[in-house]
């Protein structure tokens, strides 16, 4: 095993009775990288995190986290990881300070080091002004910062974040990601699940779980170049229009060379035959009575990638 691998998952499967939650999942996350795991609800994301945190035993396969085997070295795994769960799971009836004191002592930090690490986490997350507030009284964004602070004091080598930004406002989301980048810079490996494409774009590697299988795994830019995403003889264009984007989509779908169409704000993304020129598309759309359209070539987005790949697999 390479010293540069933070998380190594080899053929991991998990059954709950007759239900298969994970089916032969294999992936590697290099140290200090942010790994984004995407997939619909119920596709097995949380199950995989729970296995890697040592909360669940896999039915088949092996996995190591910072070189510790999740099957046999649970204790070592737990000492090396931090975990920020989907729902806020710190103590609401304890203050910020008390929560941090509790988790620092749970992780065995003592004396001067404990004080130093606690102050470091408070400074990192800027939670100082709320120190004596009950955790339950914090807003969503501050709750996540507290959860992050609690998960970081013991210098984890790997940090698991299960939908850490679900339900927080965009500013808090951006700030949290800036924090994560800072940590990755210090060599912490990060394993993040999310539903947000903009967050996925920020990850070094993204993977997509679909019906308990990992259907794709790679750098966002590499994924966009996969043959399945833009089939041979096809290309993607964006059609910008001032009004009536919904009716434009309906009209566009009647054109014989349009294979798929999706709305993005006031514009339309089309998957079209390669040999049809932008000018021809423009003219055909104008013929539907929609004025001022501009057609230009675009690269697929990550969303295009996942939508196409799930279509191909199902």
């Amino acid at each position: 095993m390479s010293a540069s691998v933070g998380i190594d998952v080899r053929h991991v499967s998990k059954h709950f009775g007759t239900v298969q939650a994970l089916n032969d999942v294999t992936l590697q996350v290099p140290r200090g990288e942010i790994f984004g795991l995407l997939g619909p609800n119920g596709s097995g994301k949380s199950t995989l995190i729970r296995i890697l945190c040592g909360l669940l035993q896999p039915t088949g396969g092996d996995a190591t986290v910072d070189d510790a085997d999740v099957r046999t070295q649970g204790e070592a795994v737990r000492q090396r990881i931090g975990y920020v769960s989907q729902a806020f799971s710190l103590y609401r009836d304890l203050t910020v300070d008390e929560n941090l004191d509790f988790f620092s002592s749970i992780y065995g930090l003592k004396g001067a080091e404990r004080i130093e690490r606690k102050e470091w986490a408070i400074e990192l997350t800027h939670i100082e002004p709320y120190r004596s507030r009950l955790a339950g009284a914090l807003s969503g964004g501050w709750k996540q910062r507290l959860a992050l602070a609690a998960a970081l004091m013991h210098r984890p080598r790997v940090l698991f974040l299960d939908e850490p930004t679900a339900g927080i406002d965009p500013v808090a989301r951006r700030e949290l990601w800036d924090l994560l980048f800072g940590l990755a810079g210090e060599g912490v490996t990060m394993f993040v699940t999310t539903h947000y494409m903009d967050e996925a774009e920020r990850c070094g590697t993204v993977a997509y779980l679909y019906l308990s299988r990992l259907i794709v795994n790679g750098h966002p830019e590499e994924l966009k170049k996969l043959p399945d995403v833009t089939p041979k003889g096809m290309r993607r264009v964006e059609v910008e229009c001032r009004e009536g984007v919904a009716s434009l989509m309906t009209s566009a779908r009647t054109l014989p060379y349009v294979h798929a169409s999706t709305i993005f704000g006031t514009s339309l993304h089309l998957l079209v035959q390669e040999n049809v020129s932008n000018q021809k598309i423009d003219e055909d759309l104008e013929a539907f009575g929609i004025s001022s359209v501009a057609v230009r070539d675009i690269a697929p987005t990550l969303e295009d990638v996942f939508v196409r790949l799930t279509e191909v697999r199902s």
Partner: protein, 359 residues
């Protein structure tokens, strides 16, 4: 045992901060104790109706003697047996006494005199008090003719105060509530809020979580116990005939059984509501089948089997033994051994169940 101190300190802070828990653990038992303490279960001043057909000095003396007991109060006079029965059916009187016309004649003539005492059996407490009082009066009244004289001596509780009987048993019941429910809640609450999962991804050992969470409640239950004992001794003046230290020591075995039962519930219940319902499942039999309400001897065989596996049954024996009879450890080895056995099984079963649920 890594992380025990941290969990213990955290739980203590949360417990002290939670007003509902403190209320439940301290105020409710005190309230119930006062309620039970002030009510005297021995019926007194039972309304009595008399149909005196003899109308003699002898018959009037008998009626006076009935009235002289605290238990019966002669309120009405009847003029027929039908009237007596109606008074009882209507609930105006619970005891009816009929003295036949030849009562005095028989008594003077040295023949056996007969007196009819009708008792309303619809309230067993009243009925048994009335029966005892009536028997007592008749016995003393006819004592000159008896060759054998019985001298019953009521040991330990000569004035039959029900507080003396009830409170030591009540201790067991009150502790059952606070011990089982609070410890079950403590863990279910963490599961409900997801904090248990957060704990399980840290290096803390499951044993440290269980002990760290449960011991503060053990302390709280001891607090309840001491308050209840102080109230019992000084407010209700129940004499404490045995060793306080022995009772406190044996209480820990009982509390351990209750807390592990709470733990067992917590490993099965997904929510506090479920935990409450499951806890009620043991609390009700503990009240009804532990000898607290009904004497153990009066339970039919299958129910008596259940009563044997209830920790409360044995602790009530211990508490009554120590408080009322001044029993020592040697006197109580049977219930102590039974309690120890039940506790051990409960601890083992609940520890396994808990380990399974977190793993």
């Amino acid at each position: 045992m890594h992380g025990f101190t941290a969990v213990f300190r955290k739980e203590l802070t949360q417990m002290m901060r939670d007003r509902i828990t403190m209320m439940f653990a301290l105020a409710v038992p005190v309230f119930e104790l006062i309620l039970f303490g002030v009510i005297d279960m021995n019926a007194k001043n039972i309304p009595t109706i008399v149909f005196d057909q003899s109308q003699t000095q002898e018959s009037r003396r008998l009626i006076e003697q009935f009235s002289a007991t605290d238990y019966l109060r002669v309120l009405q006079r009847a003029h027929s047996r039908v009237e007596l029965q109606q008074a009882i059916v209507a609930g105006h009187a619970q005891v009816a006494i009929e003295i036949p016309p030849d009562y005095a004649r028989d008594l003077i003539g040295g023949r056996q005199a007969h007196v009819l005492v009708l008792i309303d059996g619809s309230d067993s407490t009243v009925a048994s008090s009335a029966l005892a009082a009536a028997n007592g009066v008749i016995l003393t009244h006819s004592v000159r003719d008896l060759i054998v004289e019985a001298h019953p001596v009521m040991m330990f509780n000569p004035d039959m105060r029900s507080a003396n009987l009830l409170i030591p048993g009540l201790i067991a019941i009150l502790l059952t509530f606070s011990g089982t429910i609070l410890s079950a809640f403590a863990i279910v609450k963490e599961r409900e809020r997801g904090t248990l999962e957060q704990l399980m991804v840290t290096p803390v050992s499951p044993l440290a979580v269980v002990l760290g969470k449960i011991l503060p409640y053990m302390g709280l239950a001891y607090g309840t116990l001491i308050i209840v004992l102080l109230l019992m001794r000084f407010l209700f003046r129940v004499p404490f005939n045995g060793s306080v230290a022995l009772l406190l020591a044996l209480s820990s075995v009982y509390l351990l059984a209750l807390l592990s039962f709470g733990l067992l519930i917590s490993s099965r219940a997904g929510s506090q509501m479920e935990a409450m319902q499951q806890a009620m499942g043991i609390l009700l039999p503990s009240v009804l089948l532990s000898g607290y309400v009904f004497p153990l001897a009066s339970l039919p065989f299958p129910l008596r089997l259940i009563s044997y596996i209830l920790p409360a049954t044995h602790f009530i024996k211990i508490a009554r033994g120590i408080v009322i009879r001044g029993a020592t450890f040697a006197d109580l080895w049977e219930p102590v051994l039974a309690l120890l056995a039940i506790s051990t099984v409960l601890i083992a079963v609940s520890a396994r169940a808990f380990k399974k649920t977190v793993a």
